[in-house]
């Protein structure tokens, strides 16, 4: 399996990633002779406490996306009653040096505001991790993601 190993930062297992329009949207934009927005480079946190992946609304705005769905979300901020979050179709690309990147060409992500001061704009949740092997080695201070 391709994999990468990175240091665990104070914010946790954080890495560079690119978020772009989904493959289905990209094909449509090309067929309509419309420009395809460049993918947005972000910092993403691997978060096993997130059942689905999430992206900050600033990224959706940059990509000129409109929601394609809604999901109910429970967070410490919402209390006991789930709140509604818009869902967007995006692509996610995580580079891995000379190895094949981790790519999800069309994935639904929830739109949530992530505090910029935390140092990341996306959570890589268990929907993506379910096809990965995550090793968190706190003793050495590194994590490995194989996919």
């Amino acid at each position: 399996m391709p994999h990468f190993t990175l240091p665990i930062l104070p914010a946790g297992p954080v890495m560079d990633a690119w978020v772009g329009v989904s493959e289905a949207r990209r094909v449509t934009l090309v067929s309509l002779n419309q420009p395809v927005p460049n993918p947005v480079q972000i910092r993403a946190l691997v978060d096993t406490g997130a059942s689905s992946s999430c992206v900050d609304p600033s990224v959706m705005t940059t990509l000129a996306l409109t929601p394609r769905g809604q999901v109910q979300m429970s967070t410490p901020s919402t209390g006991t009653t789930p709140h509604t979050a818009d869902q967007y179709d995006v692509s996610i690309f995580i580079p891995c040096g000379t190895n094949p990147p981790l790519v999800r060409r069309t994935v639904g992500v929830a739109c949530v505001e992530l505090v910029a001061s935390q140092g990341f704009h996306a959570l890589i949740g268990r929907d993506i991790l379910r096809s990965c092997l995550l090793t968190y080695n706190g003793a050495t201070g590194f994590f490995t993601l194989a996919y």
Partner: protein, 88 residues
């Protein structure tokens, strides 16, 4: 909160259609993905990707909804402080 949609409540009609059609949809399609355009249930698909591809093929950049069919919608859980964003 940052607005992420130029058209507020863009999916209002599609979500209403989903709600009204859910009793039929859930019969044999639990866990699959429905594609809805306006008041039309276009189809049910095994994967999110398939539903999205058909949606863009047929409706291009128009509004359409892709939603997982669940008799009782399961909330997504995030264990850190974040604010879900919605235009509706």
């Amino acid at each position: 909160m940052t607005s992420t949609s130029g058209a507020k409540m863009a999916l209002e009609k599609e979500l209403a259609t989903y709600k009204s059609k859910l009793p039929e949809l859930k019969e044999n399609n639990e866990g699959k993905f429905v594609l809805i355009h306006g008041e039309e249930v276009v189809g049910v698909y095994d994967s999110y990707e398939d539903a999205m591809k058909i949606g863009y093929d047929r409706f291009k950049l128009e509004t359409f909804l892709v939603k997982k069919i669940e008799a009782v919608e399961q909330a997504q859980f995030i264990t850190r402080h974040v604010n879900p964003c919605s235009t509706t």
